[in-house]
């Protein structure tokens, strides 16, 4: 298999999965009402795209993620960097973070509904909160992981504190931070769907739940496929972005 191109190797297994799924459903090994074949699912996606509400739901979810995620990145990077550079900040913030971190975001969601209402506010809050942990931790690890000799050399070449921050600390923690951001993005996708299912008026999670309530299993699958494709393509975008921004940083296997 290794003599085929990586693209081919990575395409073959999803295609095989679709084929088996189609066969199981078409041969009625499993009731197509419960497991509609992929051809039907994709047809439903098409219908929802042209004339349906899919784009509106997709945009509703994506907008909440983007706003919550962006707020989280800004705040968390600052908190993580402060914790890494100052023992005082670390000692004061670490217990708070470690107390909130294990609490499922879904346990906090009812509170968020009360505080910010059933619209975007509660979801944005929940996403910002749940994204902050991996970003804080990765920024902290990234800043702490910078070789002290880089800082020493920069200082002796004449760099002042803010130049060391801009040229050494921010640049040096980027690979770790990028990993944290990818993890956070994955968490955001999970949290948005769950929160839209619990209490929402639009969005992919809301769409999947209402489809289930009206027994439109093909539409449930359509929603799941769209969520999967969204996660996959955004992660690919993050990887491409990292290759552009961090050409000096090579993972063991790309």
């Amino acid at each position: 298999m290794l003599r085929f191109s990586p693209f081919l190797r990575r395409t073959v297994s999803p295609c095989a999965l679709l084929l088996v799924w189609e066969l199981i459903s078409r041969t009625r090994t499993v009731d197509p009402l419960l497991l509609p074949p992929p051809s039907v699912v994709f047809a439903e996606i098409g219908r929802l795209l042209w004339g349906g509400s899919l784009l509106l739901d997709l945009w509703a979810s994506l907008r909440r993620i983007l706003v919550g995620f962006s707020i989280s990145v800004v705040i968390s990077v600052v908190i993580g960097a402060l914790m890494a550079r100052s023992v005082l900040f670390e000692d004061m913030l670490d217990p708070i973070i470690e107390l909130i971190r294990p609490v499922s975001p879904l346990a906090i969601f009812p509170l968020a509904l009360l505080w910010f209402g059933i619209g975007d506010g509660s979801k944005i809050f929940l996403i910002a909160l749940s994204c902050s942990f991996p970003i804080i931790l990765s920024t902290y690890a990234g800043v702490r992981g910078i070789d002290r000799s880089y800082i020493r050399v920069a200082r002796s070449l004449g760099a002042n504190q803010s130049e060391i921050l801009a040229h050494i600390i921010l640049k040096g923690c980027l690979p770790q931070l990028f990993t944290g951001i990818r993890v956070a993005w994955g968490i955001a996708l999970i949290v948005i769907i769950a929160s839209e299912m619990i209490g929402g008026v639009a969005g992919l999670g809301y769409m999947v739940l209402t489809a289930q309530e009206t027994f439109r299993v093909d539409r449930v699958f359509a929603g799941i496929v769209v969520i999967g494709v969204l996660g996959f393509s955004t992660d690919q975008a993050f990887r491409a972005l990292r290759r552009r921004l961090l050409p000096w940083y090579q993972e063991l296997r790309e």
């Binding site: 020493r152 002796s156 070449l157 004449g158 040229h167 000096w248």
Partner: protein, 276 residues
């Protein structure tokens, strides 16, 4: 040396090195001692004991001594990273109080910033407010220095794409960019293979001749010291003091299989063994 002679020498170096590199400064190590506080009530550890030595402006000096004797520590004090317990360092009669771009350290393991290309690393010092240059001038300096260390074709490579010897050259170029008067080198070629080390010694001599910097280089390699230095400071075991200063009056380039060379090397080896 008369003022005129000094000016003439300075001028000749300027023409060789291009328009901006300034020559070296004199370093005076004045009765420097260093003690580390002992852990938990134990007696303090004496590392350096009353070290005095004068490094002449623009000279090439090597420091050798038994390993762990405190050679690198002395270099750190001269660089300003560490403060002496007693005594002081003067550069051209000005006491050293901390790190400065005028005295730059080059280490055995290169500390090139992995997120910058070779050219960006060399340009780093010039981009700082402390020694900022107009963009065109900075670019010209970077180009000249990368050429000086012979890596013109590798400007856009990242450090991980370069060999150990190449990284060391870029490290030297990065230090030269901020136009230091003194280069402090702590076993700079210790991590390189034998062949690359020989090449780098010749390269360093060429760079030294072209720039006129004062170079103070710590090594444990006797041959390296004899090939490079005007004067070799031999240190005693800890607490280190100066055992002897050996002048090397051989013309450069120095061949290792010449009898004068072996005589100096032999003398150094005897001194070091006596020290153990």
């Amino acid at each position: 040396m008369t003022v005129n002679a000094a000016a003439a020498m300075y001028a000749s170096r300027q023409t060789v090195a291009g328009s901006r590199q300034t020559g070296g400064r004199r370093i005076l190590v004045d009765r420097v001692s260093l003690e580390f506080a002992g852990a938990r009530g134990r007696a303090p550890v004496a590392v350096l004991n009353d070290v005095s030595y004068e490094v002449k402006a623009g000279s090439f000096t090597c420091i050798i001594g038994p390993s762990g004797c405190g050679k690198s520590t002395l270099l750190s004090i001269i660089a300003g990273y560490l403060a002496a317990s007693r005594g002081q360092i003067l550069t051209d009669d000005v006491p050293v109080s901390g790190p400065s771009p005028e005295r730059l350290m080059v280490f055995q393991n290169t500390t090139l910033f992995p997120w910058y290309t070779a050219a960006q690393n060399v340009a780093f010092g010039l981009s700082l407010r402390a020694n900022r240059k107009p963009r065109a001038e900075a670019a010209a300096i970077v180009k000249q220095l990368i050429g000086l260390v012979g890596l013109g074709d590798f400007s856009d490579c990242y450090p991980h794409e370069l060999s150990g010897g190449m990284r060391q050259r870029i490290e030297i170029a990065r230090a030269l960019a901020v136009n230091p008067a003194v280069l402090l080198m702590d076993e700079p070629f210790g991590a390189l293979d034998a062949l690359t080390r020989l090449t780098m010694q010749q390269e360093l001599l060429r760079i030294w001749t072209e720039t006129g910097k004062t170079i103070l280089l710590v090594t444990h390699d006797i041959g390296e010291a004899v090939v490079l230095a005007d004067e070799i400071v031999v240190m005693t075991p800890r607490p280190a003091s100066v055992a002897e200063v050996v002048k090397v009056d051989l013309p450069r380039p120095r061949s290792r299989d010449n009898s004068c060379f072996t005589a100096v090397a032999h003398h150094l080896a005897t001194l070091l063994h006596a020290a153990f």
